[in-house]
């Protein structure tokens, strides 16, 4: 029997003469309220060690964002789109996955990439500017950062489908922004996922803005999670600043997909505390009040105060977490002070498996120019 045996699709519930599987929409719709765990009885359901781990990751994540921002000020990074304020989403994208799963990040998701185990310098290579991508996608099963928005979503579907064909228990997680949901590729990916019943999860980090464009100009949907029903997949809504809720909902979604129950679309409601990138002037399109209001819901402070309430966090833990974070920052500082190796001739090496005769000629031309340059310098 094939993976795509359509006789396996749910028998029509409605109406008798309609075409294809007509599923019951009810279970696909998100709850009216976003899932929250911190500050609710549900928090008792989580292992203290998990909560403390999330805390340490959040602290490191915040420090990572600060250090990367500093590196741009020093001109060591060409540009940096900070995920400050979205760290709970970023780390959940790592904690919810198994090593054998795949992550499909967008350009803002380097923290998720690092949380998955990729070295920060490799994760930031694209933004540093010495190469298009710094890491081996197969080492940690992380696709290259995707800059064209939502174009990585169909890749995640294809990879998940391929894994299923191979009989592997792999799940693909695609990260998209609220703005990215407007792209045709987002639609086509979710539709393919639904039809193929591919083990893929789409996490939309709804941080309220696409550069300067607020969600109200991006979509009129009740919530972005409501888009799921249009593809026959499950939609979940979660508080993106609640690290515990993020971990729970995303883990459930991933296991739901893994168990063959179908793809899931998760909307995480969060906020981009920094400007779009260091090159952006957020003051042009949003108020200080708005930012301040969201600072009150900082994912880090939310978790920290919860842990303290539960008596799960000592001052020792705090300084310990800070130390780990500082070590990460140190590593970044040192590594970025090393000038990257640059080989102009590498421009021709990987265009094709074998350079074409045309590329060989062009490579020879550049080689000669470099030789002449070197001559001149001697």
């Amino acid at each position: 029997m094939t993976v795509l045996d359509h006789s396996a699709t749910p028998t029509p519930v409605w109406p008798p003469d309609a075409h294809g599987p007509r599923r019951d929409p009810a279970p696909l719709l998100p709850d009216a309220e976003p899932v929250r765990v911190l500050g609710t009885p549900a928090v008792k359901g989580l292992a203290p060690e998990l909560l403390r781990d999330l805390y340490r990751r959040l602290v490191a994540g915040r420090r990572y964002n600060q250090q990367a921002t500093t590196l741009t000020k020093q001109g060591r990074l060409a540009v940096y789109p900070a995920s400050t304020g979205q760290e709970a989403c970023q780390i959940a994208a790592a904690t919810a996955l198994r090593p054998t799963d795949w992550l499909f990040p967008s350009y803002r998701d380097t923290l998720a990439v690092v949380s998955r185990g990729v070295d920060p310098v490799e994760a930031l290579t694209l933004l540093r500017g010495n190469a298009h991508s710094g890491y081996d996608p197969y080492e940690h099963r992380v696709a290259p950062l995707s800059t064209p928005l939502a174009t990585q979503a169909p890749h995640a579907v294809g990879l998940a489908h391929a894994a299923r064909l191979r009989g592997d228990a792999t799940v693909a997680l695609a990260l998209v922004g609220d703005g990215g949901t407007s792209e045709g590729d987002f639609h086509e990916a979710l539709n393919f996922a639904g039809v193929l019943n591919a083990p893929v999860v789409f996490l939309v980090q709804n941080n309220g803005y696409a550069i300067s464009v607020p969600l109200s100009k991006q979509s009129a949907a009740p919530t972005l999670a409501h888009k799921a029903v249009g593809y026959g997949i499950h939609g979940r809504l979660v508080d993106g600043n609640d690290a515990a809720a993020m971990h729970n909902v995303l883990s459930e979604a991933v296991e739901h997909a893994r168990s063959g129950l179908g793809p899931v679309l998760v909307e995480a409601v969060t906020y981009r505390l920094e400007a779009h990138t260091n090159a952006d002037d957020a003051g042009r399109y949003r108020s200080a009040e708005e930012v301040a209001a969201w600072q009150q819901r900082d994912p880090l402070t939310l978790l920290e105060s919860q842990l303290r309430d539960l008596g799960l966090l000592t001052d020792e833990d705090v300084s310990e977490a800070a130390a780990v974070a500082e070590a990460l920052a140190d590593h970044m500082r040192t590594m970025f002070h090393v000038k990257p190796e640059l080989d102009p001739m590498s421009l021709f090496t990987h265009v094709y498996a074998e350079p074409t005769p045309q590329l060989r000629e062009q490579a020879a031309q550049l080689a000669a120019e470099l030789e002449a340059e070197a001559e001149a310098e001697r």
Binding site: P154, H155, H161, A162, A353
Partner: protein
Amino acid sequence: MTTLAPTQPALTQSSMAQALNAALRDSLREDPSVHILGEDVGTLGGVFRITDGLTAEFGADRCLDTPLAEAGILGTAVGMAMYGLRPVVEMQFDAFAYPAFEQLVSHVAKMRNRTAGRMPLPITVRIPYGGGIGGVEHHSDSSEAYYVHTPGLHVVAPATVADAYGLLRSAIASDDPVVFLEPKRLYWSKDAWSPAAPAPIEPLGRAVVRRQGTSATLLTYGPSLPVCLEAAEAARAEGWDLAVVDLRSLVPFDDETVCAAVRATGRAIVVHESTGFAGVGAEIAARVTERCFHHLAAPVLRVTGFDIPYPPPMLERHHLPGVDRILDAVARLQWEQ
């Protein structure tokens, strides 16, 4: 002691469609990582029946009817290739590959380079292309120039039944993405060729001289090859002995074969169906001139479609480069000087 000669199956008349179908079948059979996907490629066997019978033989997982979304199809193929599969995508018609343009240009063409060779994408994108079939708007575009201008893509266009098989096998076997342009118009053209004894797999990147000649050299590919051969025949009456080169592969380009053929005659004409302005013919004329300037008795001329949207069926014959238009160009090759 006697040795028995292996029994050779007789070469029957086969169509290009049959040869393409055979190439897909043999690829699916020999390599389990090959997967076909596209619109109507399964149950129906494709609107041109190129995938006829493949789902029946290999199952829906190997030859998949997808939803109607070209970017989704190609994007899904990218993900499958990332996981080690070897997807073969069918775009139903040339103009309907445009929705997948971003996936093709920004990902398919660039992934190997982006990842320093770690993540190659062995994807074949089959595109039935070109006119002359009485198709309505959007069903007769020649879009090769968009693809040849995009580094990272191989671009191939067979013109014979045997090449259709041999080049498609190589395209699928290639570790690089290949845009495989199938001249619709030649789908039903037949030739002595048998799927039972397929031609040797043609390596990509080699042009072939289809006709030797001394007066001038016609450079062409895909649907225009038969037209050029016909023109060469007709030219004999006018006392011209024309050579005809079938490029077969546009990227990589076979400068060696092409320049040798042009130097031999000192005169050349590029013939293709697509719009001329910044078309493939412009590149060929430019590079041949760069390389053979002092061998040229006349400028390299181009006989191409006009710079207009593809015409409605009843007017297409006026747009397509025909024998007369080619002969007119030959006459303009400054024989007097």
